[in-house]
Amino acid sequence: MKKIFVLFLLSILFTILDNTLVHFIAIQGYFPSLLFAFIILYSINNEGWIVIFLGIFSGFLQDVFFVHGFGINMLINMLCCYFTIIIGRSIFKGKIIIPVLTCFSLSIVKGIIILSMLFIYKEYISFSNIFFSSLYTFAISIIMFKLVYKLSNLDFMQNKWRF
């Protein structure tokens, strides 16, 4: 229960930071997504239903203020979390390279899916925007990795067998 509460609070915190503070640390108008970096880094170190629900919940928070197609972010974040679980099963936990590269590549994939879905609504976004925002998210994920890894290894964040 404590685990769900912590993930819920952190998702809200990162959403608020994404909608406010992150805009002020933009480089050349490009800014990262702390929430996306967090869910990917958390998913790679964990698995199960909680990760899928985290993907859906974070997507919902992003969809609230998204202009078109309510559900786009929920769908993409859920799928990203699902694929991250699969990647996470075949890597050594605690190593930084694969998680941050996964974060970068899934951020680009997310951007491309959003670009194609928005095309249906006749809204256009540039690929350079997607690329540089993903690059920034990648840089942020390097900083966040250790913190999220430590969080995942906290006692109350793990489902341990009780004898």
């Binding site: 608020i16 909608n19 503070l21 050349q28 108008g29 203020f65 976004i125 540039s126 925007n129």
Partner: protein
């Protein structure tokens, strides 16, 4: 264990189908959409109340830091503004006397001012929307305050943009620097009309472009651009920006002007929604 893993995959596939249906119907006026909108609005209200404080605090810190780092520039600017202020005070006096004359003449001929046909609703910006792909601003007024989708948003410096998402207690604005927003505009000096579109230059600065200008257009650098009311969405005469550069497209036989908006989108805090008194004259 394998069964559980497969169960997870099956649930993910089923949920994906559900989300695709939700995306498909999200723009339609159905019962499910209405209830999801109410849920969105509720979440938005809670997030907005928390975001408001963080946004103001971040804005304050950024402004303070930029003031510290550009102190010399601020000093020079202050001197320039003092000189400008003296000139403007003189102009304001002339303006006051002209207004008095205008009022008396308007009363005589029964002329109705175009801008008197609108109410202006002040709103505060509570956050940024769009997850970095579609830049927009979240404001603290919605349908409960009489705001509708596609209403025009202005601030003291000029045109800001348009409402693109509207919930009961909050809305999302997309600015004129977004390439998905089109505004019919006119060049003040030559009275030529063109279509304004959002544009970002090579340094990703937020600009606009005035397209579809005639090949023989006389538009020059520095010319002021304002809205023209063609299309009946944007009221006539709202200042938009000034021409920074003019280029010629020989294939299309048109000219395009790069416009620097008067509004500094990095310093937006308070905006006004233009609400028409007579909604029959408006195309939304």
């Amino acid at each position: 264990m394998k069964f559980i893993k497969n169960k997870l995959t099956i649930v993910v596939v089923l949920l994906s189908v559900c989300f695709l249906v939700l995306i498909g119907i999200s723009e339609k006026d159905t019962k499910i959409v209405k209830s999801s909108n109410a849920f969105q609005n509720g979440t938005g209200v809670i997030l907005n109340s928390m975001q408001k404080g963080v946004y103001s605090l971040s804005r304050g810190i950024k402004d303070y830091l930029s003031f510290l780092f550009s102190f010399n520039q601020v000093k020079i600017q202050n001197e320039e503004l003092k000189a400008q202020n003296t000139k403007l005070l003189q102009k304001a006096q002339d303006y006051d006397s002209l207004i008095k004359k205008y009022d008396s003449i308007a009363a005589m001929v029964g002329f109705e001012d175009e801008k008197s046909g609108y109410n202006y609703l002040g709103c505060e910006i509570t956050g940024i929307s769009g997850t970095s792909y579609l830049d927009g601003y979240i404001i603290n007024k919605g349908t409960k305050d009489g705001v509708n989708k596609r209403m025009v948003v202005v601030c003291g410096d000029g045109l800001v943009g348009q409402i693109t998402k509207c919930e009961a207690n909050w809305s999302v604005i997309q600015t004129i620097t977004n390439e998905n927003i089109n505004v019919a505009c006119r060049v003040e000096s030559t009275q030529e009309e063109g279509m304004l579109k959002g544009y970002k230059d090579e340094n990703n600065n937020q600009m606009s472009k005035l397209t579809q200008l005639d090949e023989n257009s006389q538009v020059q650098v520095g010319a002021v651009i304002y809205t023209s009311n063609t299309g009946a969405i944007y009221p006539k005469g709202i200042r938009v920006g000034s021409v920074l550069e003019v280029s010629e497209d020989k294939a299309k036989l048109t000219k395009t002007a790069v416009i620097e908006p008067f509004v500094d989108f990095n310093k937006l805090q308070v905006v006004f929604i233009v609400i028409p008194k007579d909604k029959t004259k408006i195309a939304y």
